[in-house]
Amino acid sequence: MKIGGKKVSIVANVVLCLLAFSCVMPLLLLVISSFTSESTLSRNGYSFFPSQFGLDAYLYLWHTRVQLLTAYKMTFIVTTIGTLGNLVVTTLFAYGLSKKQLPGRVFLSFMVFFTMLFNGGIIPSYLMWAQVFHIKDTVWALILPNLLMNGFSVIVMRTYFTANIPAEILEAATLDGAGEWQMLAKVVLPLSSPIIATIALMSGLAYWNDWINGLYYISTHTELFTIQNFLNRLMSSTDFLMNANTNSAIADGIKVPSIGIRMAIAVIALIPIMIIYPFLQKGFVKGIVIGSVKG
């Protein structure tokens, strides 16, 4: 409930407008810079008010699109497989944990909970994935380590199942002779779309944004780079993109717009999220709230 009067409300609106603006203003610099002509950039740097707009960066990117499209494709593949995998594994596990009579339930719940309190750290984990499972420089490196399931979402989902699926419905389904798989598919899942959507969103965002697994596990097979890894590598070695394309670019007589191109790639990596976000905004908010209250 609003507790202040009209004055408080006006102050609130002014402050929040400024805050909201400060949240997108840095992104605007990115976008505007990517549409600035390279000569202006090299003269005046990145600017909110460039003296001359231009498509140099994007035109060059069009020339090197193969490399970029590969990275884009990897991001899509990894995000799709990863999110689906996460949903399946998490839902099945959480559904099992929601069965109150399940022998071993307390032990299993504790195992999940313990993963949130204690972990071995990155070195043991890295050595295991790299030396025991040999996932270095394979697509599995982008999907498996850490992201496929986490204890937190298992517990959130289990809590949702126990709190929102009435036991009577499950009993009735059992009496009708429904097996567990049928029960899950026909009774539980249709009642759980909010939590499934939430977990899918969070997992999808985690996969889309992940660059850490690529940094650790992808070193020689750069064709496996996702767009985030691509950007990451581009930042540390500016010539990453140019090396791969020097020949074709020189052949076409195009000068590399090295200042603008970074921003253009970053913008391209951002576009899908910014397009989807307004539609999923409520889901994100719900996800944050559910995660914080019920975990």
């Binding site: 408080v8 610099l29 005046n44 309190l117 071995g120 750290g121 050595l127 030396q131 496929l148």
Partner: protein, 314 residues
């Protein structure tokens, strides 16, 4: 008699397990994944007490007592990374909590539902970005030659541009701003959700008693937010030895001249493992992080538990 009932119990348990067989099958993938991803690496913690050789692996490498730790603490790095990790986290917790509570209270004062929605949408945007993108944004502002701040502000006023990425002294401020910018929306949403949940009649009664807006905030809103504040702060304190790898590695662009104010336990471990091949010191630091972090979670929970049992996490 006793035997018979035990027999019956045994049989019913067997029957029970058979009944739950489909459930166990469902749980198998998740269980295996958890075992592999979260439990198999745990024995690897012994590396902190070993002289690691890639050719010999975790189990085959020779023990070397506590010399990894001795080596770690003999270098000034150890103090630096622990100080940075803890101090940054303390500042993040303090400023982040204050900022998010203020914004959440303000958000609650906005009359139009649609505006409220719009503000929420905007303040969550930074939370959606990866730290790779954030580092590009920071670079657009701070790049020495092309950065917006040097070109449009500092040089425009006639001063010499600042080489931000080589001057460690600026980074405590930069990193705090970036971290707050990226994460305040998230905690604002959490606080806002709990403010919405406060019983309206409390405020109505306060208004009848003539309480001012400020009084209502300090006497109703804040006390009722206490559980959420305590829980979120406790979670953060439990993770005070952990830092966001992206913030400290990506945003300063792993620039060596900034290490004194930008390296934390996590970046130190990463560099030891993959850049400087100093697995001994890195695994000693990682070991301390895991074990002390665990103790911290238990302690902070224990303290809250002894003061106010219902606020404890477990």
């Amino acid at each position: 008699m006793e035997n018979a009932s035990r027999d019956l119990l045994g049989r019913s348990r067997k029957k029970n397990i058979r009944k739950y067989l489909p459930i166990y099958c469902m749980m198998l993938p998740g269980f295996l994944y958890m075992l592999i991803n979260n439990y198999f690496p745990l024995p690897g913690l012994q590396l902190a007490f070993k002289k690691f050789k890639y050719s010999q692996g975790i189990w085959g490498s020779a023990w070397n007592g506590i010399s990894n730790f001795r080596y770690l603490f003999r270098s000034p790095d150890s103090f630096m990374i622990i100080r940075n990790t803890i101090c940054y986290n303390l500042v993040f917790i303090l400023l982040g909590t204050i900022l998010s509570i203020i914004v959440a209270i303000l958000l609650n004062e906005v009359r139009s539902k649609r505006l409220q929605q719009t503000y929420q949408t905007f303040i969550l945007i930074p939370y959606l970005l990866s730290y790779v993108i954030v580092s590009y944004i920071v670079y657009a502002f701070l790049g020495a030659d092309n950065g917006m701040i040097n070109n449009s502000i500092i040089r425009a006023m006639g001063y010499e541009g600042v080489a931000w990425y080589t001057q460690a002294k600026y980074w405590p401020v930069i990193l705090v701003i970036v971290q707050l910018w990226k994460s305040f929306g998230y905690s604002t949403i959490i606080y806002f959700a709990s403010i919405i949940g406060i019983d309206h009649s409390l405020y109505e009664a306060a208004v009848v008693d003539g309480a001012s807006t400020w009084k209502q905030i300090t006497h109703i809103t804040l006390p009722l937010l206490k559980p959420v504040i305590i829980i979120l702060t406790m979670l953060a304190i439990g993770r005070i030895l952990y830092s966001d790898f992206g913030l400290f590695y990506q945003v300063p662009m792993n620039s060596g001249m900034l290490y004194s104010t930008t390296s934390t336990i996590d970046t130190f471990v990463y560099r030891g493992l993959l850049e400087t091949n100093d697995v001994g010191r890195a695994s000693a630091a990682g070991f301390l992080q895991s074990v002390l972090g665990f103790i911290l979670v238990l302690t902070s929970n224990g303290i809250v538990r002894s003061v106010e049992k219902e606020y404890a996490l477990f």
